[in-house]
Symmetry: C2
């Protein structure tokens, strides 16, 4: 298998360059990609400091490296463009058509730095604290403030989804477990019925739930395939009966689940 | 102020298109951008269903809309390219040079769908549960498993940073508050001194801390500017004395703080 080094270079965190870069590289098979993220490369001096790593990769791999970059400064971009690497220049490629379209010169500052001062950023931080404070049904207080309340059996994916909704989208996402007692009574726990319009359910393939729970409490009744099947069957019956929309989290990423919930609930 | 509609269209969640698109648009001032995300546009039929929204935006705004897209299917991309919008075609633009570089046709499936099955994805989910279970010093058990342990006074940004480290990078990040008792004793709480190499501190501007705490507990001693100043001064003295590296979270986003910690701790 051939090997290539991929540099994600940015004057900010490099997270956007890495995310887009990885989704581009995912289209190609049979190549081992060695990933290097070089964040905060925000001056010619810092660019010159890291440049030898880019040129050294060519010698090491035998093939030229890939550089995926989100860099505002044209001078810094030019340095990497002349390095011999294959450069995917995200800002250089797209800023120009936008500049023409808007009849405006682009500002020479990074987008990220501006973001923390905004209301939207504070909403996100508040939402994280809210979602954390309303994880796993720890309290019923403040449910009025929830944008969405996730329900499902233990380890169906509620917690990561709630936190992602908060962190990425500023959504206040509470979550509430459906425990065996609820499933036996065939009734929603506590005062959830009062908030029916905010409820969204997660279900999961019983075999997968069994594996996930078994990692946590090996050999327990809680983790047994039989119990997982029983809980899932009961939870789905309950959600159907209560008119709660739901999705199966089994083969979906947190990003996908969160996006589907936003779309269904028409949030934001 | 002129107004433009920006569509983030993807066959996946559209989160990458939105993130990159927003960082491009942040370079332009004086334009009000109306944002519309159209995720899961993964067939010609779905593309045709949403196309009227794109064409309607031109009539409404008087200017053609911007489309930022991450779409694998060339047919679907073509539909939007012919819509009259200004298209920033992230996959179309960069898949081709990569395909030439690797001497390989790109796979016709979305990158995202492949991701959930990987070990890396499971590590991320595990890290989220770990970080959540070790938030705010709830337990000292399992500190051996931490990749990093954040310390700082209450509301200095530890919790969002820990969760982001877990969610984005799969880092097991515990966090531990420095409470007034620790600061009076001028000693690290509990058994943290045993894990000194994993510690990383967050500090914050006292005025900002005062505002943040005042939202939570208005008029309290806890939130008073005087107390915030005192706590911050003591925490910084303690961290300096104990040789704990730290950064100021005041004007940095969670993404930036997390990236700086990764870089400093040489994690991943």
């Amino acid at each position: 298998m051939s090997s290539r080094t991929v540099f994600f270079i940015s004057d900010g965190t490099g997270i956007t360059a890495e995310t887009l870069g990885l989704s581009l590289l995912a289209h190609f098979d049979g190549i081992k990609f060695k990933q290097v993220r070089l964040p905060f490369t925000d001056s010619l001096q810092k660019a010159r400091d890291v440049l030898p790593r880019v040129t050294a990769a060519q010698i090491e791999d035998g093939d030229r490296p890939i550089v995926v970059m989100t860099i505002v400064s044209p001078e810094v971009r030019e340095l990497f463009q002349k390095s011999g690497a294959l450069c995917l220049d995200l800002f250089g490629t797209f800023i120009k058509p936008l500049s023409v379209e808007f009849g405006q010169q682009p500002a020479q500052s990074t987008g990220m730095a501006r973001r923390t001062a905004t209301d939207e950023y504070h909403d996100r931080i508040d939402a994280i604290h809210y979602s954390l404070g309303h994880d796993d049904g720890v309290t019923e207080a403040g449910m009025d403030e929830a944008d969405v309340i996730l329900v499902g059996v233990s380890r169906s994916g509620k917690t990561p989804t709630s936190l992602y909704l908060a962190m990425q989208f500023g959504i206040r996402a509470a979550n509430y477990p459906l425990i065996p007692e609820d499933l036996e009574r065939m009734a929603l726990p506590g005062e959830l019925a009062q908030h029916r319009d905010k409820l969204y359910g997660l279900t999961i393939d019983p075999e997968r739930l069994h594996r996930v729970r078994n990692e946590r409490r090996p050999g327990s009744h809680y983790a047994s395939l039989e119990n997982c099947r029983k809980e899932i069957r009961a939870a789905e019956t309950l959600m159907r009966r209560e008119g709660i929309p739901w999705l199966d989290s089994s083969s979906r990423s947190v990003e996908e689940i969160a996006t589907m919930i936003l779309q269904h609930k028409k949030l934001k």
